[in-house]
Symmetry: D2
Subunit: 374 residues, 4 copies
C-alpha cells in the first residue's frame, strides 16, 4: 500500500506517523504554506465543557482527547519528549455562582463517560488566582484536572520525525493531485510524479485548491485567527492551567518558557490574508487583559496568523471523498485542530489502509459537491 499524505500540519503528520507504524509505504508532502493553522493554534486539549451543541462533534473531540496520553507515551518511547505537552488542567471562567454550579453539574454529568477529564472542582476567586496568578480578582471558575496543552509545532515535528524513522519519506513542495478513471494515481511535486494507491488530503485551508483535479469541492474555507504571545520573564508558568473565559471564544494558555498565548480572533471573511491587523491585535489584547490584567506588564513577543480550515456547518471533514477512489479528506477541524488533529490523522490513515475504525465517521463524510454544477 503506497500512501501519500499531503500537508505536514498536525493532521497530516499524525496520519503519516500512524500509517508508517501500521506498515504502509508512506510519502508525506508539504508545501510550507505560511499561515498553517497548526503553527498558530494555541493547543488546549480540554473539550469536555464545550458549548458546541453537536453530539457527534463532541464524541470525536473527547475521543481525541482520550487518545492523547497514549500517543505522548509512544512518542516518548520513540525518543520524542519535546512536545510542549503537559496535563495542566483547565479553568473555565464563569460570571456567577449559579453559572458555576450549572457548569460543574454539566461536567460531572459527562464524567462517567469521559473520566479523562479528571477532578471537577468549583473554585473561588482566590483559588483560581492561585492557579493562574494574572487573573482579575473576583472571578469564579470551574477547574477540570484532566485538561492538557500541547505545542502544535513541536508535536507535528515529532510526529514527522517518528514517521520518518518508521520509514516514511518527507518531500518538500507543492503537490498536484493526479486522478485517472475516477481513481487517484498519485501526485506530482515540482514536475515529478509520485505514484500512490491512496492520497490523504490533510491540506487545511488549501484543501479545495488541492482536490480540484478530482472535480469536487469540499467547501473548506479559511477562518483567520490572530494569536498573541506574551512573555512573563522569569515567572514559572509551566504548571498554569488553560483558561477558558467562556463566551468570547478567547482563551489564555501558558507554556513552559514563561510564555502565555492569548487569543484568538475568528475572522471568517478575511480570506488568506497573512497580516496582523491593528484591530485584530487590539481585540486579542483587550479580551486577555479583561480577564487577566496581571498580564499587562508582560512583554509583547509576537502575533501569529493562522487559517483554520472550516468545513460546511463548522464540522470536520473526515473520510473518503465520494466519486474519487483512493482520495481521503482529513481537515475542517476549525479551532479544535490541536485537540482533534492527531486522532483525526490516525482515523484517516486507518481509512486509507482499509482498517477498522474505532468511531463512526459517517457524520463527517465529505460532501464533495460536484464542480461541474458550478
Amino acid at each position: 500500500m503506497r500512501l501519500i499524505v499531503i500537508g505536514a500540519g498536525i493532521v497530516g503528520s499524525a496520519a503519516a506517523y500512524s500509517a508508517a507504524t501500521l506498515g504502509a509505504n508512506v510519502t508525506l508532502v508539504d508545501a510550507a504554506h505560511t499561515g498553517r493553522a497548526t503553527s498558530a493554534g494555541a493547543g488546549i486539549v480540554s473539550p469536555w465543557g464545550s458549548r458546541v451543541d453537536d453530539p457527534e462533534w463532541y464524541t470525536l473531540a473527547c475521543s481525541a482527547a482520550r487518545a492523547y496520553p497514549a500517543l505522548v507515551e509512544a512518542l516518548g518511547e520513540a525518543g520524542e519528549t519535546s512536545l510542549g505537552y503537559r496535563r495542566v488542567g483547565s479553568l473555565t471562567l464563569v460570571e456567577s455562582p449559579h453559572e458555576q454550579q450549572e457548569l460543574s453539574r454539566k461536567f460531572r454529568s459527562r464524567l462517567a463517560e469521559w473520566p479523562e477529564m479528571g477532578e471537577v472542582a468549583e473554585l473561588d476567586s482566590d483559588q483560581a488566582q492561585e492557579l493562574f496568578p494574572p487573573l482579575r480578582p473576583g472571578i469564579l471558575a470551574v477547574h477540570v484536572s484532566g485538561g492538557a496543552r500541547v505545542d502544535g509545532r513541536l508535536i507535528s515535528a515529532a510526529l514527522r520525525r517518528a514517521a520518518g524513522r518508521a520509514g516514511a519519506r518527507v518531500v518538500a513542495g507543492q503537490a498536484e493531485l493526479k486522478v485517472a478513471g475516477g481513481k487517484v494515481t498519485g501526485v506530482t511535486v515540482g514536475g515529478e510524479l509520485i505514484e500512490g494507491d491512496a492520497v490523504i488530503a490533510a491540506t487545511g485551508a488549501w484543501t479545495d485548491a488541492f482536490v480540484e483535479p478530482a472535480g469536487v469541492t469540499l467547501g473548506i474555507t479559511p477562518q483567520r485567527g490572530q494569536i498573541t504571545h506574551i512573555s512573563l520573564g522569569l515567572t514559572d508558568t509551566s504548571r498554569w492551567p488553560a483558561v477558558l473565559p467562556g463566551g468570547s471564544g478567547h482563551y489564555l494558555l501558558a507554556f513552559d518558557d514563561s510564555r502565555v498565548v492569548v487569543g484568538a480572533t475568528r475572522e471568517n471573511d478575511a480570506g488568506l490574508d497573512y497580516r496582523v491587523t491593528s484591530g485584530g491585535l487590539a481585540e486579542v489584547l483587550d479580551n486577555a487583559l479583561a480577564v487577566a490584567p496581571g498580564l499587562s506588564a508582560g512583554t509583547y513577543l509576537e502575533t501569529r496568523v493562522g487559517f483554520r480550515p472550516m468545513g460546511p456547518g463548522f464540522r470536520p471533514v473526515l473520510g473518503k471523498v465520494p466519486g474519487t477512489d483512493g482520495l481521503i479528506a482529513a481537515t475542517g477541524l476549525g479551532a479544535s485542530g490541536l485537540t482533534m488533529g492527531p486522532y483525526s490523522g490516525e482515523l484517516a490513515a486507518r481509512t486509507a489502509l482499509g482498517l477498522d475504525l474505532p468511531l463512526d465517521l459517517s457524520p463527517f463524510s465529505p460532501a464533495g459537491t460536484d464542480m461541474s454544477s458550478r
Copy 2:
C-alpha cells in the same frame, strides 16, 4: 572654541549643526543608546493649541515651531531633503460644538502673535473625515493649517550630516565628563581624551548619569513612551493632518509611506525598561481605534519604545549648569522633543559660544542640585 556635544538625538544633532555652521570646532559624541526619545517620538509640530498652562513653555514651543521652516530650507540647500517634514496641518478633535467654538476662539486669540499656525477652521464630521479618512463619523474638529510633521530619525541624521560637512566630527562611544577646578575640560570616550572648552549635555534620559562627575544632579527622569506603527498598504497618507484627540495625550500621525503612527503611553515609573508591554500596546491601540476605527484593518508593523527626558516640573532644562563652567544642559523636552529639539539645540549652541539669544532662557535654567547634599 572647541565644543563637545554629547548625544546625537535631535537636540544634540541640532546643536552640533548650529555650532559648526557658526564656526565652532565641534565634536559630537553618541553612545547609541537603545530607547532614545528621538527615535520613538511621533513628530507633530503644532504647539499652538496646547493645554500646557505655562506661558514660558508655550513661548519656547511656538518659537521652535516658527523656526522650523527656515531650518528645513537651510537643510534642503545643503542637499538634505529627506526629513519626513511636511506642513500637513493638524486636527484637534473635540467633543461638542461648544468645545469646538472655545478651542477655535483660543487658537484665533493667539493667531496675531503666532501667525505660523495659519488658517483656523471649524470642521464638521464629514470635513474632518475627508482630511483623515479613518476617523469615526460624528467627530468635530478644529483644523489649523500651519501644523507640520517631521520624522525624528531622518531630521537628526540630516542635521548630523550637515554638521559633518560644516566640519563637525562625529564620534561613536560612551562619553565620560571631565571636570577640573569647577570647569569642564572635555570628555573621555573609550579611554581617549577629547579636550573642549564647553560641553553640551544633550543626553536625554541619561543626563544625570552623564553630569555626575560635575557633582550635580539635574533631576531628569525617563518617561517611557510606547508608540505603534500601522501600515495602510497603498493608501496615500502623505497629506493627512496630525490628529490630536484632546485630553488623552494620545495622537495619530501619518507619514508619506502609508504609515500611521499612533500613541503614545506616558509611563513615569517604568524606568529604562525597553520592553513593549501587552498593557502598553493595548492602551495605544485602544486609544487610536476609539477615534479612528478605520485603522482597524491596517497592518500592525511595530511598536517602538522611547524614554522622554522629563525635567523637574515637566519643564525643559536648557542653559548653563551652575557651579561648572562650560557645562550646558539641553534636555528635558518631554513629549515635545521633536517640536522643540532643533531650536533648543540651536539655543544651546549659541549659549555655549557666548552669542546673543533670541529668547530668555532663565525659566529653563538647570537647577543643578548639589549632590553632596544627597
Copy 3:
C-alpha cells in the same frame, strides 16, 4: 481612455504616473507580492560602462538614465522629495592600470553621445578610498561623476502618490485579465470587474501567470537576488559613490542613513523561493568584503530577496502583446529595473495612449508565444 496598470513596482507606478499626468483615466492594481524586484533592488543609475553587449539595450538604459533628473525635478515640484535619489557618482573597480585605461577610454568614447555621465576620472587607490573609505587599499578605479542612486521603494511610492493626486485610482488585490474577442476588456479584482480600454502588465516575475487568459506566454522567468543591508552607525555615507567591482556582477551602494547595500546573487533556477539562504548570504558578504574589508565591522541589518523578471535573451519586454488588442507588456528589466523602470513605465504609458515614442521599441517587442502550441 481607461487605462489599467497591473503591478505597483517601479515600472507600473511610473506608467500610472505618466498616464495620469497625460490625462488618462488610470487604475493601478497591485497584489502586494512578496519578493517584488523593486523592493530588493539596489538602485544604481549608472549604465554607461555596462559590459552588456547589446546596443539596443544600451540605448534604452542610457536614455532611461538621461530621463531621471527631469523626473526627480517633476516629483519634487509635486512635493515628493524623499526618493533616496542623489547624484553620487560611480566607481568601477579595475584590476590593473591597463584595464583602467581601457575602461576610461570606453567611457570617454561614449561621452559625446551621453554627456550625462559627467566627468570621467582615473583614480588611484588613495583617491578611490577617499570617496569610498571601506575599500581595500591598492584598488584602482574609474570614476564617473554622473552616476546616481535611488531607493526603489521610495520612488515607487512617490510615483504612486503623484499619480493619485493626478487622478489615478489605486486598488489593492490580485488582478485577473479579461479578454474577449482578441481584445482586453479589463480585469477583475476580488471578483469585481474593472473595465478598461488598455491594460499594462507591469507584473514582473508574475507576468506569465497574469497574461495566461490572453492565451500567450512571454517567457518571463524569475531570477532570485539576495541583497544585504549593512549599517555603519554614525558614518555619513550619503555622498559615497556606487561601487561596481567589475566582473562579479556584485556591487556596493551607500544611502543617506549610514546604510550600505551589497549584493546581489543572480540565481536563475531558484524559482519564486522567498528564503534567504546561507549560501546566498555567504556569497554576498564574501564578494562585498573582498573589495571593501572596511565594512567588516558594520552591523548586519537584513537581507532582502527579490525576483528580477528576465525576458527571453535577458532583454526587456516592452510593447504591445501580439494577438491581444490593448494588452501592453512592460517588464523583463532584469537587474536594471531601477535604472530603466521609470522610463520604461513612461514608454508603456505612451504606447497604451497611442502617443509618439522617443525611442524605437521594436527590439523589445513581446514575442508572445501562443500557448496552444505548448
Copy 4:
C-alpha cells in the same frame, strides 16, 4: 542557610537548583542582560577530544560531561523533559588518515578513565556523510558515540523551574552586592535589600562589575561569539551528531527542529558590543560551508550574539573569593559553558553550603586582585 545566586544563566540556574534541592533557602536574582553566553552557546557536550592542554581543565570538563545524564534524569522525574538534550554522538573532522589514527588513539587512551565517551570509530567519508549529510565529500572523521547536545536556554529554564518547585525564589532585577566587615550581607535589587549568608556570583561577563563592592577584581573579560542558526526545512536533523571541524574552533550542531547551529566567532576585543557584524557573519558562514556545503540551500534564520566570560589564562573561576567571606565566584567557563555549567553550578552550591566536593577546585580558585592596587 540563606543563599543568594546572581545570574540565571546555566551556571546560576544550576546552582540555585542544586542548593534548593540540598535544602538551602535560595534566592535567584537575574538582570536579564542581553548577550548572555547561555543563550548564544551551541550546546555540545563532548569534551574528550579537546585540544586544550590543561589537565585540570580537562578533568573538570569530563567530570561535567559525566554528570549530565543523571541531571537529565532527575529533571525528567521533576517533569522537565524539554531540554534539547540528546546523546547524538560527535564527529571530529580530520585532514588525513594519519591524523585520524592519532586522534582515535588519543580518544581510546582516555576511554578507560572516561568511559562515557562510548564507542570510538574511524569513519570514512561516506560513513561521516551518512551521519551528517551536508558534509563535503572526502572528509574523514573520528566518531565518539557518547557525545551529547543540549539547548542552553531550555535547560536553564528547566533548572530554574525545578529550583522554584524546590522552594527557590526567583527575582528579576539588577543586584548590587552588599559587603560589611569583610563579609557579604546580601544584595539589593531595585533598592530592596535581600539578606543572605552567602552569594554566588554566576554573573558571567558582568562579574567584575558585580564584585566591585567587595573591592576585588577577578579579571573576567567578555569574548564575543556570533553564532548562526540555519533551518533545513523538513529534514529530520534530530539524530545528527555534533561536528567539530578541528583547528578552527568552529562547529556545527543540529537540533530536533531541523535547525543547524554553526559558529562561532571568538572575538576577544569587541567588549560588550551586541551587534551582528558583517565580518563576523561572513566568518561563521564561510567556516560552516567549507566543511558542510550541503547547508548552502538552508534557510538563514538568525545570528545570536553572546559574551563568553573568560577568566585569567582562559581558566574557569570557581570557588571562594579571597578576602570576602561568603562570596563565591562561578564563571569564566569560556566556550565550554554549556558543558561545564550545570556541574560548576552544583560545585558552587556545595561550596556555599560547606559540603564536600567531588573535585579539587583549587586550580580554579579566584585570584581576586585587590582593587586598591589599581
